[in-house]
């Protein structure tokens, strides 16, 4: 299932004093099994873009195509579409409302009109996917859980609909390091089991570990689109977009400035470690 945006423009509150162009001629095609990270400075249009992917926002002009079909076409069933493109909003724990974890996760599948036993099966599977123990937590009131657990319940609520594409807006924002690692681990597992992932994030080091492709946004436009290696080597473009590069890439840059022969395309911690060790060995040999 591919998502394609064709020359999408989006203007908020058109024709008033609040008018604000959020997206400007955005074209983007995302294929099956990709892990796309969407990065950009606050207010660059990431969240707006994300809401176009399942038809929550309608482009002011341009098209959003899923498998070649315009999602705002007359005959498109947008409700069915939203089950195939799961969208996890920022701070999704604020959308919880049911009296038990199980009921809350079941909300999505129920809206899909699935039979009871299938709903139950999916709830259990979704809870296991996000490492929540169904036996212990299914009957608990979600408002009694910790922040990280609540977030996992909310994510399970989307996973229970078994989307083919999972779009997440800052899934790890505001969590403690353990909670963050747990969420990122879950996302990695999902990608490995075949779900296409589109993730908005600010944490470059997380992205460097996970994403297969990075889309950089700036002022509502796509500033850069490429593999992590391509993107993190362009510190200039990243800086212009108000973004950092990974710590490893920064360190490599500093070493190069000092005149050390460190390769240009380093961005992971393993690579910088190997490069430094190599330099070290050469120095020892020379002595």
């Amino acid at each position: 299932m591919s998502i394609e945006l064709k020359h999408v423009n989006y203007v908020y509150s058109q024709g008033t004093a609040f008018q604000h162009t959020a997206l400007q001629d955005v074209s983007l095609k995302i294929q099956d099994h990709e892990f796309v990270a969407l990065v950009g400075h606050t207010g660059c249009g990431k969240s707006t873009l994300v809401q176009h992917l399942n038809g929550l926002l309608k482009p002011t002009s341009g098209q959003v195509l899923i498998n070649g079909e315009d999602i705002h076409g007359e005959h498109t069933n947008r409700k069915a579409l939203r089950q195939r493109v799961g969208l996890v909003f920022q701070y999704p724990e604020y959308q919880l409302f049911e009296e038990s974890v199980e009921k809350d996760i079941a909300f999505g599948p129920k809206n899909m009109g699935l039979p009871e036993d299938e709903i139950h099966r999916r709830v259990i599977a979704a809870m296991e996917m996000v490492h929540l123990d169904p036996a212990r937590l299914a009957a608990v009131n979600p408002f009694e859980l910790s922040g990280g657990q609540m977030r996992r319940v909310a994510i399970a609520g989307i996973l229970a609909m078994q989307p083919e594409i999972l779009v997440m807006d800052e899934p790890a924002a505001g969590l403690d390091p353990q909670g963050r690692d747990a969420i990122l681990g879950i996302i990695r597992d999902l990608h490995q089991t075949g779900t296409t992932i589109i993730m908005v994030s600010h944490a470059m080091d997380d992205i460097a570990d996970l994403a297969t492709r990075i889309v950089v946004m700036n002022h509502g436009q796509i500033a850069m689109d490429g593999t992590p290696r391509e993107v993190f080597c362009r510190a200039d473009v990243m800086r212009e977009a108000g973004l950092e590069i990974t710590e490893a890439a920064r360190l490599a840059g500093t070493l190069r400035e000092r005149g050390l022969p460190v390769p240009e395309d380093i961005y992971t911690q393993e690579e910088i470690r190997d490069a430094i060790l190599r330099l070290w060995k050469e120095k020892v040999h020379a002595q």
């Binding site: 008033t16 409700k79 799961g86 959308q95 409302f97 999505g108 809206n111």
Partner: protein
């Protein structure tokens, strides 16, 4: 759906009207409302309309914004119009079957609906051009003489400004939660009344939870900054009356005078 409520929504542009003293604006709005109720004939409403359009023009607020404020009232307007039209006794104009339309009914129907329209229009003009903070500052100052009889002017103004401040936040929150639930396949638009009411639960529960959370946070933040009510508080923005304020007063006084003249001297019934 959630973007069409203008009451209490500030339209942030700079203009002569925006810069008027909020106290003056509040008083002038009340005077204009009185004028609306004094109107005797359609000519008077034309006068008020002209005044509203003039103020809108001076304030750089598009007339469309004003009309948007009236839109949610349409059912009340229609109801008012027809109730008055059909159920007022007097001299008959039309009599078809059991439907009787009287001269007085027609008059009242037109008057009451126009009054409603102008009520909303004038107050919208004020709220569109006055930021919530200015508005509550103005209210506080206007009510402060009543502090002598222990009227909680400051507390009321604070509550009002907080309430107004949170309207857009809550709207945004509602929009966000609605979208989040739609992403989970929720349907807020179709179904009968009961189904629709039920479908509001996934929206209302998170909204209340977050409203209480926000209220708690705000109270804590205010306390930790030593907020303790109105006594001895100085203010950052000291309100001053300028020449423009006097001019605005004169303009509204002229309007009021014209309306009074109109209601006295144009014979009623001539133009309704």
């Amino acid at each position: 759906m959630l973007n069409n409520i203008t009451l209490g929504q500030y339209y942030p542009v700079d203009s002569l009207v925006h810069r008027l003293d909020p106290r003056i604006k509040i008083v002038l709005t009340i005077v204009t409302l009185v004028a609306v109720f004094l109107v005797g004939t359609l000519a008077g409403y034309a006068l008020i309309l002209a005044f509203c359009l003039l103020v809108a023009r001076l304030s750089n607020v598009p007339v469309r914004m004003l009309l948007k404020g009236i839109k949610p009232l349409r059912f009340i307007l229609i109801l008012t119009f027809f109730l008055n039209l059909f159920f007022t006794s007097g001299t008959e104009l039309v009599h078809v079957g059991f439907v009787i339309i009287t001269r007085e009914g027609l008059r009242q129907a037109i008057h009451f609906s126009l009054r409603l329209v102008f009520l909303v229009m004038t107050t919208s003009l004020m709220t569109l051009t006055t930021s919530p903070i200015q508005l509550s500052d103005g209210m506080e100052m206007l009510f402060s003489p009543l502090k002598v009889i222990h009227f909680p002017a400051h507390e009321l103004a604070m509550m009002m400004s907080i309430a107004l401040r949170f309207i857009p936040t809550l709207m945004e929150e509602t929009d966000k939660i609605m979208k989040a639930q739609k992403a989970r396949g929720a349907d807020f638009e179709s179904g009968n009344l009961i189904q629709r009411a039920k479908s509001m639960i996934p929206l209302l529960v998170p909204l209340f939870v977050s409203a209480f959370r926000r209220a708690g946070d705000l109270a804590l933040a205010m306390e930790s900054r030593c907020y303790h009510g109105g006594e001895h508080r100085t203010r950052l923005r000291v309100l001053r009356i300028t020449r423009m304020d006097y001019l605005a007063c004169v303009a509204v006084a002229v309007l009021l005078a014209l309306v009074i003249l109109e209601s006295r001297f144009i014979p009623k019934g001539l133009i309704l």
